[in-house]
Amino acid sequence: MNSNAASSSTANPDAAGSPDPPAPRRSSKRPKYSKFTQQELPACKPILTPKWVILTFLVVGIAFVPIGITSLLASRDVVEIVDRYETDCIPVANRTDKVAFIQSNASKTCTRQITVTKHMKRPVYVYYQLDNFYQNHRRYVKSRNDEQLKKRSKTSETSQCEPEDTTPDGKPIVPCGLIAWSLFNDTYTFSRNKRQLTVNKNGIAWKSDRDHKFGKEVFPSNFQNGTLIGGAHLDESIPLSKQEDLIVWMRTAALPTFRKLYGKIEVDLEENDIIDVILENNYNTYSFSGKKKLVLSTTSWLGGKNDFLGIAYLTVGGLCFFLALSFTIVYLVKPRRLGDPSYLSWNRNPGGH
């Protein structure tokens, strides 16, 4: 700025006196003081010292390996028998065109024999497993109406249920939607040594669903009446809250491979027992190459047979040990002082950047 033009008409009030008078203090403009606004809150500032990092990895390793072993043992305790049947239950002659067979009126009854490999403590859970069945498909998942399922007054509430919302003449389908329409309808009957094994189908669905999601006064109507039959038919005299197979099915699975509870066998199964299964192979998974499996399984505190947790815990624990060890070795072999300002590049090379 040009000082000769720099202007000032502000003559100092004490003109003949000091040329720089003190400016008046106006402390009112000062913002209120607090440790927060001044960013001076007491703080703990941890840093990653070798001691802490190695110790942490060590502790995690020590904690994870036992958990892993326990989980693995729990999973190994579970006895699980899986029988894949979708091809075997089609007569050899019909295997060239399975879809045509499954859509025909021919008898679909099929017998399977299962050998119990290990003593199975009751209750033995019976599951059906579907592979390559995308219950998580976005259109499929949404194709239901929870209001209709819950309240009798909302029977005609079929929005979101397309294409299975109403019959061609406009009557509402209860339960509407693709999920209910595609209800699984294979049935299993078990017998051991010619004596029937009762399969308890009560209480296979979540209690919360039975009590609050599916109405006691909502009865199926117009269900599976169309030309295209998706799956099981429902007994129109039983309210939805008692249709536990439906309730189980309506809890959609997150993955294309899933198991759903079919029932419980409430007796122990001995090793080498031969279980005869009479199976109605009704459900069409052939048009999308889906697999069907019958699963008998016991359970543990961790759930069914699943080695993943145990192996993952052992792996992570092992890696933690490994990291702790290697950090220790590196630390001992090549110690490096933390916070040495001589490592700062500008201190090494003055003037350089």
């Binding site: 700025m1 961790l302 993952a312």
Partner: protein, 975 residues
């Protein structure tokens, strides 16, 4: 009516200037309701928002045909069935983002509105039909007659019709042109067509985007492309865009908080006036740390624009060398009481040879009105040395000396021009009738005209000595003029004054005929005090790798001296100052090439090379040799641009911006407004030169106190790195303490290139989040497989996994844990569970009982621990490894700080005591004893009789018609 009253009468007002063309002040009658829609519109312009918008739109529309699920059902292209998520969940966040952004902008606008309102509602006296009426300044209309009193703010462009001053003179501070009503009325008239200094210097402010914003915009673009690729290639939906939006929202809030912290900061209050700093633009604080170029104004920014008479040399005797204040020098006081003729003559010149107008205040004290701070300082000093300028009435001047009143008649005033570099008055002693010529001016303009017998060596030494101390020097001289010599000369002078062609040159020639055979009386030294801590601040900032450019309307020599005294340029032999000058294109070209060559050679050497360029050469360089000049700008860490016009200042800012540098402009005057608006970050100093700059600026600071600006703000800004995880509390995270940063200012260099948020950093974060997403997803679906594969449960497991991971990531990246951090990190985690439990208790909700169910399963908790360990293990290991073995500079300092080790590697940088206040000597320590030939002696160009008050060069044309055309055309080109 007291004599201090000034009456300005206005016959025409031009639109009230406003430096911020934002909603409220563009049209002060804009209804408040206009804010939201207008804001929403302008918000949309930002690519980031648009892309978020597009991405969302894409997520709605883009899945058509891209999804290849194996489905047993017939194809049905019903629109509502196509989107993977509920429309509300897609549009909801989008609307929320706009709401948050718009609210923030609205709040900013509202605050601007308030400050504008304050300006608009200022009360002004208006004379209507002979009656003075008080109205609001916004109601002033063209044709109103405004009555202003002393020290009133000038509310709009005014034409001076009359003043209470007998000579019809009024002095206006700062920015508005107001020549006397005598000669230049036409030019002023033209000037009113929005060509006031503000009008001309004001550009159209561009919306400012910070580096972070720009980067987010780019990255959002990248994410957008990435999402399209994901959609097309994988065909499976990801909720990635949700994360992006969340980050943008929290960044916006974080920025507002940063800005608030600037307002709150105690260390940024000017202790003298207690004016706190204020951040006008809340959106750009994080850019403060990425600044690479600081362009600063000189007067009022680096210096206080408050001149103080410090030393003098009279007749070869130095006064004030011991005490640092000549006014207290016993020798001088004794000489005055003993009536030493030289000293008295010296004081007389000080008191008489000027254009200062004395005025009596109500209390009886004498106030001085001066256009030039130097003159004011001299008159004040003379008054303190008992030579009091009492009254100036028409051509009679009264001086009180030791009780007696001396009267002089001013016969002629030989005005100051920048070519003559001196001013003189011809006065007649009313008592004795003797006519004498009193002159003051730059040494080179006075000493060569000394009469033959006088030895000027001591004066040359004095000038040398003073200018090395950074003081502005003036030489005072006089000679007696015979009556007939005066009469003869007077005729010539009158003739020259009335010529129309080359008047300035002819006057100069005539003046020269009188100004010879001078008896040099002595040298005065005036201090233009540097602002507190300026040298230390500049030193620190330069160490931090920030390049400094000083843009000033000042003269080259003065600028160089100031630059030297505030560590702006290093003295020889460490530094080298190259000069680009020349009047013609060829000269400038050659000079530029020479400098560029030198610059290229010396870049490898650890030498501070700076260049000096004046406005004229700069104009040519920018116009014809832009490429070369740009290269020079990049090579040179320091530059001094003298005699630059406001529009050139803005051009320079643009030049640097065009090379992708982050610029920060500091200024206080109206002529800095445009530069401040152009720069990435503008800092206005609400100091003595008015508030225009402060209103235009994004940050206004009570007074430049760079050190505090540095530590507090940059630290906060720097932390933006860690706010990539959307947690607001990270604003109060500190990675380094102020002390550490002050000791290692170079650390900021690290932030400059935007290293802390750049594509690779972002890629790192992106990679990390991808890794975490994979960990959480893979573990969830494998543990919750088969009979547990229930949709609600699996999604909740994966979500809890992400929340756990996020908490640990934030914890790992947080440097200092205060209550707020703990609350934010762990409170967040607890809140997640509480909220989900509440939802799980509502029967109608989709996730009824899910959370209770999960929390009662051992496998859920085991899964969480697994996700945390698997997700954090590699991150911690990698971080530890880099922290210890590939430590960044910040890490090293953190370690040093926390270990309490010695970190004082650079020595403490305590602000030096204000050097000149007590004695100039300490300052001289940092100054060179030997000056290079490049450094010319300081030229003080204080004497000046101009009536225009522009503090920049463009208004030289009021006095110097010969330069009018060139400067005028210069400005025209810019506008």
């Amino acid at each position: 009516m007291p004599s201090s009253l000034i009456e300005i009468v206005q016959y025409k007002t031009v639109k009230r200037w406003s430096t911020l063309p934002l909603l409220f002040n563009r049209n002060k009658k804009t209804p408040r309701l206009m804010v939201e829609p207008a804001n929403e519109k302008s918000q949309h312009k930002r690519p980031s928002e648009l892309l978020v918008y597009c991405t969302t739109a894409m997520s709605v529309n883009g899945f058509l045909g891209a999804v290849k699920h194996c489905s047993p059902f017939g194809k049905q292209c019903l629109w509502s069935l196509i989107t993977p998520v509920n429309p509300a969940s897609t549009w909801g966040p989008l609307i929320f983002i706009f709401a948050v952004s718009a609210t923030k902008e609205a709040w900013d606008d509202y605050n601007r509105y308030l400050s504008d309102k304050k300006a608009n509602e200022k009360e002004v006296w208006v004379v209507k039909q002979g009656i003075k009426k008080l109205i609001q300044s916004q109601d002033i209309r063209v044709g109103n007659i405004v009555w202003l009193r002393e020290n009133d703010e000038v509310p709009c462009d005014l034409v001076l019709i009359g003043t209470s001053d007998p000579q019809g003179v009024c002095y206006v501070e700062g920015v508005i042109e107001c020549p006397g009503p005598d000669k230049d009325i036409r030019r002023f008239d033209g000037n009113l067509r929005n060509e006031t200094k503000l009008g001309m210097t004001r550009g159209i402010p561009e919306p400012k985007l910070t580096a972070v914003d720009a980067m987010i915009d780019k990255l959002t673009g990248a994410i957008f492309v990435f999402q399209i690729v994901v959609v097309i290639v994988l065909g499976t939906a990801g909720n990635v865009w949700k994360d992006t939006e969340a980050r943008k929202v929290s960044l916006d809030l974080v920025k507002s908080l940063y800005a608030k912290f600037i307002d709150w900061d105690y260390e940024m209050i000017d202790p003298e006036t207690d004016t706190p700093s204020h951040a006008t633009n809340t959106a750009i604080s994080e850019d403060l740390a990425q600044v690479e170029y600081i362009l600063t104004d000189k007067t009022g920014t680096l210096t206080e624009n408050r001149m103080i008479f410090r030393r003098c040399c009279i007749g070869g005797i130095f006064y004030g060398n011991e005490t640092g204040d000549a006014l207290k020098d016993v020798g001088l006081l004794n000489a005055i009481t003993s009536g030493s003729p030289d000293v008295i003559r010296f004081l007389t010149v000080m008191a008489v040879c000027n254009t200062v107008i004395p005025a009596k205040s109500k209390a009886g004290a004498i106030l001085y009105k001066a256009q030039s701070q130097d003159e004011e300082a001299l008159v004040h000093a003379a008054a303190q040395l008992h030579m009091v300028l009492v009254n100036k009435n028409a051509s009679i001047l009264e001086i009180k000396f030791n009780g007696s009143v001396l009267q002089y008649e001013i016969l002629e005033t030989l005005e100051f021009t920048s070519d003559r570099k001196r001013m003189s008055v011809v006065v007649k002693d009313c008592h004795s009738g003797n006519i004498s010529l009193l002159s003051k001016g730059a040494d080179e303009a006075i000493l060569p005209y000394a009469h033959a017998g006088q030895q000027t060596r001591t004066f040359v030494e004095a000038v040398e000595q003073y200018s090395q101390l950074g003081l502005r020097t003036l030489c005072l001289a006089w000679r007696e003029v015979e009556e007939d010599e005066y009469q003869e000369w007077s005729l010539m002078f009158k003739e020259a004054s009335s010529t129309l062609i080359d008047r300035e040159w002819r006057i100069a020639e005539v003046c020269q005929r009188l100004e010879h055979d001078l008896k040099v009386l002595g040298v005065t030294a005036i201090e233009d005090r540097l602002q507190d801590g300026v040298p230390e601040t500049i030193e620190t900032l330069r160490k931090a790798g920030i390049n400094f450019w000083m843009l000033t309307g000042d003269k080259q020599n003065t600028a160089i001296q100031i630059a030297l005294s505030c560590n702006f340029i290093s003295p020889e032999p460490k530094g080298q100052l190259l000069s680009i000058d020349g009047k013609t294109e060829d000269e400038v070209c050659r000079s530029l090439e020479r400098v560029l060559l030198t610059m290229r050679i010396t870049t490898s050497e650890p030498k501070d090379v700076a260049f000096v360029v004046d406005g004229w050469a700069l104009e040519i360089a920018l116009k014809h040799y832009r490429k070369a000049f740009t290269e020079l700008a990049i090579l040179s860490r320091t530059a001094i641009c003298c005699r630059v016009t406001p529009s050139q200042k803005a051009q320079l800012v643009e030049l640097l911006k065009s090379c992708d540098y982050r610029t920060l402009a500091i200024g206080d005057g109206g002529n800095d407004v445009r530069m401040i608006q152009k720069a990435d970050i503008g800092v206005g100093i609400s100091g003595r030169e008015g508030l225009q700059a402060a209103r235009a600026a994004d940050y206004s600071i009570g007074s430049l106190s760079g050190t505090s600006l540095f530590n507090s703000v940059s630290l906060m800004a720097y932390n933006v790195f860690y706010t990539s995880i959307p947690v607001l509390v990270s604003t109060i995270d500190k990675d380094l303490s102020e002390g550490t940063v002050m000791q290692h200012p170079q650390i900021l260099f690290y932030c400059q290139a935007g290293r802390l948020l750049n594509p690779s950093t972002f890629a790192g974060w992106f990679g990390r989040s991808l890794f975490h997403a994979i960990v959480a997803f893979v573990i969830s679906i494998h543990v919750y497989a088969y009979e547990k594969s229930e949709m609600e449960e699996v999604s909740m497991v994966a979500l809890s996994g992400c929340i756990w991971l996020q908490a640990f990531v934030v914890a790992l990246e947080t440097n200092s844990f205060t209550v707020f951090q703990h609350l934010a990190i762990w409170g967040n985690l607890v809140a997640f569970y509480i909220i989900n439990w509440i939802f799980s208790a509502i029967p109608s909700s989709g996730m009824y009982t899910i959370m209770f169910r999960l929390c009662s399963q051992p496998s859920y908790w085991i899964t969480m621990f697994l996700i945390v360990a698997a997700g954090m293990g590699p991150i911690v290991a990698l971080k530890y490894f880099r922290y210890t073995y590939r430590a960044s500079k910040i890490n090293i300092l953190q370690q040093a700080e926390r270990m309490g080790g010695p970190i004082l590697s650079l020595g403490t940088i305590e602000p030096q005591p204000r050097a000149i206040e007590k004695d100039v000597a300490p300052l001289s320590i940092t100054q060179p004893r030997s000056r290079s030939p490049v450094y010319e002696p300081l030229l003080s160009d204080s004497p000046n009789t101009r009536r225009s008050f522009g503090s920049g060069t463009p208004f030289d044309f009021f006095q110097s018609p010969s330069r009018l055309s060139s400067i005028y055309s210069r400005n025209c080109k810019d506008n």
